[in-house]
């Protein structure tokens, strides 16, 4: 099981990271990646940049806890979480979650689970910069609802194959 968790300011080299994840193993049959990208607009207003603040120490620990939880729920062969901080401009990537497994359902479910948790529980805060203002992004109730669904008992492993 390969696990890699990293917080960085630099843009994520997605191709290189994903190649490292699956590259060494011959039992991986499925790789799912999620890439979050800085959009150029939010609710109709043009975005100049996003600035991401995070709680150093806690963010790493929170992500590691969620990766452990994902490993306990699904038969994973590799998990990668890279989250950027600092100022990010439209079109740039913000976050990469990649999961590897023998079969697709486990890889899909684990990637969704990790993203739902990153959105609602990992200590990151986004500030949006537009031409004439900066504002902290408000948490979305839809994200809380998405994270909530994982509180139900996990799917049976044999159903995830």
């Amino acid at each position: 099981m390969t696990t890699s968790i990293r917080l960085q300011h630099e843009p994520i080299d997605i191709a290189a990271e994903v190649a490292k994840l699956a590259g060494a193993r011959s039992d991986v049959g499925a790789v799912v990646t999620f890439t979050g990208i800085c959009r150029s607009d939010e609710d109709g207003a043009a975005i100049t940049a996003l600035t991401l603040e995070y709680y150093q120490g806690m963010a790493e620990a929170e992500i590691a806890r969620h990766v452990d939880e994902a490993r306990a729920r699904w038969p994973l062969l590799g998990v990668l979480v890279i989250h950027r901080y600092g100022r990010i401009t439209p079109g740039e990537n913000i976050v990469l979650v990649a999961t590897a497994s023998r079969h697709r359902q486990a890889a899909f479910a684990a990637a969704e689970f990790l993203m739902d948790y990153l959105k609602t529980r990992a200590p990151f805060w986004k500030q949006v910069e537009t031409a004439d203002a900066t504002a902290w992004v408000e948490a979305k109730t839809a994200d809380d609802a998405a994270a909530e669904r994982w509180s139900a008992p996990p799917p049976r492993r044999d159903a995830a194959k």
């Binding site: 990992a122 990151f124 805060w125 948490a139």
Partner: protein, 85 residues
């Protein structure tokens, strides 16, 4: 009891600092009581903690509710709901 307190995002902006060392009195026993105590430390704090319901907390880098006891904590953080990912 001396505790390191961290503030993030708009809580940090309103308080006007990212961290400080505080020594709350012994009758401040929970996260919620600590927020109420901080709110009385001055105008900036009052503004930051005006609506404690929307502020989240962590004790020693784990999420904590308002009822959580702060005894023995080394580091307590206050911040808005998270918006990562």
């Amino acid at each position: 009891m001396s505790i390191k307190v961290l503030y993030f995002a708009w809580v940090r902006e309103r308080v006007g600092k990212a961290e400080e060392q505080i020594e709350p009195p012994a009758d401040v026993e929970t996260v919620g009581q600590l927020m109420a105590w901080l709110a009385r430390k001055g105008e900036h704090y009052a503004y930051a903690f005006a609506n404690p319901k929307v502020i989240r907390a962590a004790i020693d880098r784990s999420h904590a509710r308002a009822e959580a006891r702060i005894e023995g904590a080394n580091e307590i953080a206050f911040f808005p709901p998270m918006t990562g990912g």
